[in-house]
Symmetry: C2
Subunit: 78 residues, 2 copies
């Protein structure tokens, strides 16, 4: 089964990468950009029957830094 | 309006970051992990009325490296 985990900075946490992209878009002449934030996603091919608990544990232990990041687990239908 | 751009490596392009995460998950004892690939997403707050052409141009010029990466633009409903 295919799983996607989306990891994003918690609201309020400074996002220097997002600011840099915002600045670069302004510099390239794009108008109307109000805010930019960057996150990442992890696409996992897992054996069928992997439990939700295992997925949560993977996020808590490795995939996200839960001090400053939120994560969301999505199962991709095929 | 809120836009999300998902950027992922094209199929076949080596993903060392994904391999490292795969290896780390194995090392932590998680079973059933068959493949891991990492991508990023960019969350943009844009002025209403930003055209699709402007968004595509932003992706082509800055947000994605189209030699090795694919991108997908998603408009987030509120």
């Amino acid at each position: 089964m295919k799983i996607r985990v989306y990891v994003s900075l918690k609201p309020g946490v400074l996002d220097p990468q997002g600011r840099a992209v915002h600045h670069a878009l302004d510099g390239l002449g794009f108008e109307g950009v109000e805010d930019v934030r960057i996150g990442r996603f992890i696409e996992l091919d897992m054996a069928d029957g992997t439990t939700d608990e295992a997925l949560e544990s993977m996020c808590e232990k490795l995939l996200a830094n839960t001090v400053i990041e939120d994560y969301r687990i999505e199962k991709v239908e095929r």
